[in-house]
C-alpha cells in the first residue's frame, strides 16, 4: 500500500522538482486513472494489469496537453499563478466528473491469489501493486539518471536558463516532465483501483498524502518518494486500528505542516530548499 503512495507521490515530486509547479490536478488525475481502468476493464474487457501501459500513455498525453494549455504560460511567474491555474483545471475536471458520474462508488474487481506468511495475509492485489510500483520506480530512476532525456530533465530542473543557453529545448522538456508526472498519477490510480472502491471525489485525500510523501522524501527525488510512501503506508496501517478514520486527515495534515517547517528540502532531500 505504501508503495503505491510512493508511486502517486512520484508524479508530484517530479513536476515540483523540475518546474516548481505544484500540480493540484494530481488527485483528480489519480481518479482519472481509476476510471480509465474501470472503463477499460468493464467495457473493453481488458485485463486489469494490461491497462497499465494504456493508461501510462494516455496519462502522458493528457499531461502534455494540460501543460500546454494551462501551465506553460505561467511557469515563469510567481508560483501562486501556477497553483491557481492547476487548481482551476482541477475544479473543471471535478465538476465534469461529478456531472457525468455522480458521487457513486465504483469498483474494479480483480481476482488474484494472496500470499500467506505466518499470521499475516497479503492480498494478491497489494503484492502486485507493490511489485509494479517498484518496477516503475526503477524505470523512472533509470530514465532520469542514465539517459540523455533524463539528463536534460535534471538540467532544466537545476537551472532553467542555463539549460536553455546550452541548447536544451526547455519547453519540450517541461512538457515531457509534466506529462510523465501525470502519467505516474494515472497509473497509480489504476493500481489503487484494484485495492479499494472509489468515487469521483476520492482524489483529495491522495493529494494530501502525496504531498506528505513528497516532503518526507525530498523534492524531486523519486526514490525518496518511494521510501517515504512506504513509511506512510506503514504508519497508516499501524494507526488505523486505534482511531476513527476521520482523524487520519488531521494527523497527516499535522505531519505535513511539521515536515514542511522542519525540513524545507525534505527529510531525505538531495537538494536544499529553493527560495520562492
Amino acid at each position: 500500500m505504501g508503495a503505491v503512495y510512493g508511486l502517486a507521490a512520484m508524479g508530484i515530486t517530479l513536476i515540483w522538482g523540475v518546474m516548481d509547479v505544484i500540480n493540484l490536478t494530481h488527485g483528480t488525475m489519480i481518479v482519472a486513472g481509476m476510471f480509465s481502468a474501470y472503463l477499460l476493464v468493464g467495457s473493453a474487457g481488458v485485463p486489469v494489469y494490461a491497462t497499465l501501459p494504456i493508461v501510462l500513455v494516455g496519462g502522458f498525453v493528457a499531461g502534455v496537453a494540460l501543460y500546454t494549455i494551462a501551465v506553460q504560460r505561467v511557469v515563469g511567474q510567481a508560483p501562486l499563478m501556477s497553483l491557481l491555474s492547476t487548481f482551476s483545471v482541477n475544479l473543471m475536471l471535478i465538476g465534469m466528473g461529478t456531472a457525468v458520474w455522480g458521487t457513486v462508488l465504483f469498483n474494479v474487481p480483480v481476482a488474484l491469489p494472496g500470499l500467506s506468511l505466518g499470521r499475516y495475509t497479503f492480498p494478491g492485489t497489494h503484492l502486485m501493486s507493490a511489485a509494479i510500483t517498484v518496477l516503475l520506480a526503477g524505470a523512472l530512476y533509470l530514465l532520469l539518471y542514465h539517459t540523455r532525456i533524463g539528463k536534460a530533465v535534471r538540467a532544466v530542473s537545476g537551472n532553467r536558463e542555463a539549460a536553455e543557453l546550452v541548447g536544451i529545448p526547455t519547453r519540450r522538456v517541461l512538457a515531457l516532465s509534466f506529462g510523465l508526472g501525470v502519467a505516474l498519477a494515472c497509473v497509480s490510480g489504476v493500481l489503487i483501483a484494484t485495492l479499494f472502491p472509489f468515487t469521483v471525489l476520492s482524489g483529495d485525500p491522495y493529494l494530501l498524502k502525496s504531498f506528505v510523501v513528497t516532503i518526507l522524501g525530498g523534492l524531486g527525488n523519486p526514490v525518496g518518494a518511494l521510501i517515504a510512501g512506504v513509511l506512510l503506508g506503514l504508519f497508516e496501517g499501524l494507526t488505523t486500528p486505534f482511531m476513527p478514520v476521520s482523524w487520519i486527515p488531521v494527523i497527516e495534515f499535522a505531519l505535513f505542516v511539521v515536515a514542511l517547517i522542519a525540513f524545507p528540502g525534505g527529510v531525505l532531500g538531495l537538494r536544499s530548499a529553493r527560495p520562492h
Binding site: S85, V89, L207, S246, P249, F256, V257
Partner: protein
C-alpha cells in the same frame, strides 16, 4: 484621517446605503435574501483579498474562518445563552486569535507551501469538528426558535440580521481600504511583490503575515456567526463548504485581487452568473466547471481581474478608485 477626503471612501458609503435601503424600500424579501448572499460573498472576498491580493498568499481554506465563527456563535448562544451580537463578536475574536497563533506557525512557509497547507486546513478542521461532540459532531447543532425572541421574533430578526451583515460587509470594505493606504498595507504589498527584498528593507515579514492572516479571519468569522444563526442550523459540510471557499477565490480574482472594489464587483458579477447557471437546464451541474474555467481564464489572460484590466485601459482611474 485624510481617508475621509478621498472620493472612494464615500463611494463605499454609497454602496452600503444602497444595500441597506434597497430591500427596505419595498419590503422585498427576495431581494433581501439575494443581497444577503452578496454581503457574505463580499465580506469573505474582501477579507481574503488582504491576504491574496496584498500579501500574495493564497488561502485556499479561508472558509474555515467563516465556519468556525459560525460554530462559536451558535454554540455560545445555544449552550450558554449569549445574546447574538456578543456571540458573533466573540466568535470573531476567538477565530482571529486562533488564526494568529496558527498563522505564526504555517506562515513560516513561503508562498506556494503555505497555500498547500491551507488546503489541508479545511480537511483537518472539518475532520476535527465532525468528531467534536460538544459541537454536535457530524449532525451539527440546532438553534431553537426561542433564541429569535430577543430580536423581536423571527421575521423581524431576519431584517436585523441582514442589516448587521450589511454593516459587517461595509466594515470589511473599509478595513480593506484603510489597510491598503496604511504603512502596514505598504509592507504587505512589498511582501507580495518580493518577500526577500521586503525583509532586507526592514519589513517584519513573519509578524505582518500573521497579523493579516488573523485580520482576514475576523470579519468572516463574525459574518459566519450571523449567517448560521439566521439559518438556525450548522453542520460541518455547510460550515466548511469547499465549494464556497473556491468561489470566494474566484470572486476575488475575477474582480481584481489587490484592489478594494474588485471583490465587491466580482461578487456581484459572480452571483449573477451563478444565479443564471442554476436556473439554466444545461448548466445546472456545471457550476464548478464554469468557476474553474473562469479562474483559469483569469489566471492565464487577465491576472489583474476586472479592475486590473480597467486600470490598464484607463490609468487615471487608479487615482480615483482603489
Amino acid at each position: 484621517m485624510n481617508l475621509l477626503r478621498r472620493p472612494f471612501f464615500w463611494i463605499i458609503g454609497a454602496v452600503i446605503l444602497v444595500f441597506a435601503l434597497a430591500p427596505a424600500y419595498h419590503g422585498n424579501v427576495e431581494l433581501r435574501e439575494s443581497l444577503l448572499l452578496a454581503t457574505v460573498y463580499i465580506t469573505l472576498a474582501s477579507s481574503l483579498n488582504m491576504m491574496l491580493g496584498y500579501a500574495g498568499y493564497v488561502n485556499f481554506g479561508s472558509i474555515v474562518f467563516f465556519g468556525l465563527g459560525g460554530y462559536f456563535c451558535v454554540w455560545l448562544m445555544s449552550a450558554h445563552g449569549w445574546p447574538l451580537a456578543a456571540a458573533a463578536l466573540a466568535g470573531g475574536v476567538a477565530v482571529s486569535a486562533a488564526g494568529l497563533l496558527f498563522g505564526l506557525g504555517i506562515l513560516r512557509l513561503r508562498g506556494a507551501y503555505f497555500a498547500l497547507s491551507t488546503i489541508g486546513v479545511i480537511e483537518a478542521v472539518n475532520a476535527f469538528v465532525t468528531n467534536f461532540a460538544p459541537w454536535g459532531g457530524s449532525s451539527g447543532m440546532y438553534l431553537s426558535p426561542v433564541l429569535f425572541e430577543p430580536l423581536g421574533g423571527a421575521r423581524h430578526a431576519l431584517w436585523t440580521i441582514y442589516y448587521l451583515l450589511v454593516a459587517v460587509m461595509g466594515m470589511s470594505l473599509y478595513l480593506s481600504y484603510a489597510v491598503k493606504r496604511s504603512k502596514f498595507g505598504l509592507g504587505l504589498l512589498a511582501i507580495g511583490q518580493n518577500e526577500g527584498a521586503a525583509s532586507v528593507l526592514g519589513v517584519p515579514a513573519p509578524r505582518y503575515k500573521a497579523i493579516v492572516y488573523s485580520l482576514s479571519a475576523f470579519l468572516p468569522a463574525v459574518a459566519g456567526g450571523l449567517y448560521f444563526f439566521k439559518g438556525a442550523f450548522i453542520q460541518p459540510p455547510d460550515a466548511f463548504d469547499l465549494q464556497l471557499s473556491t468561489e470566494v477565490i474566484v470572486i476575488a480574482m475575477l474582480g481584481g485581487q489587490g484592489t478594494v472594489a474588485g471583490p465587491a464587483i466580482g461578487a456581484f458579477l459572480y452571483e449573477q452568473l451563478r444565479g443564471w447557471l442554476l436556473t439554466s437546464p444545461t448548466f445546472a451541474n456545471f457550476q464548478l466547471v464554469v468557476a474553474g474555467a473562469l479562474l483559469l481564464a483569469i489566471v492565464l489572460f487577465a491576472p489583474g481581474g476586472l479592475m486590473g484590466s480597467l486600470y490598464r485601459r484607463w490609468p487615471r482611474l487608479r487615482g480615483f478608485l482603489e
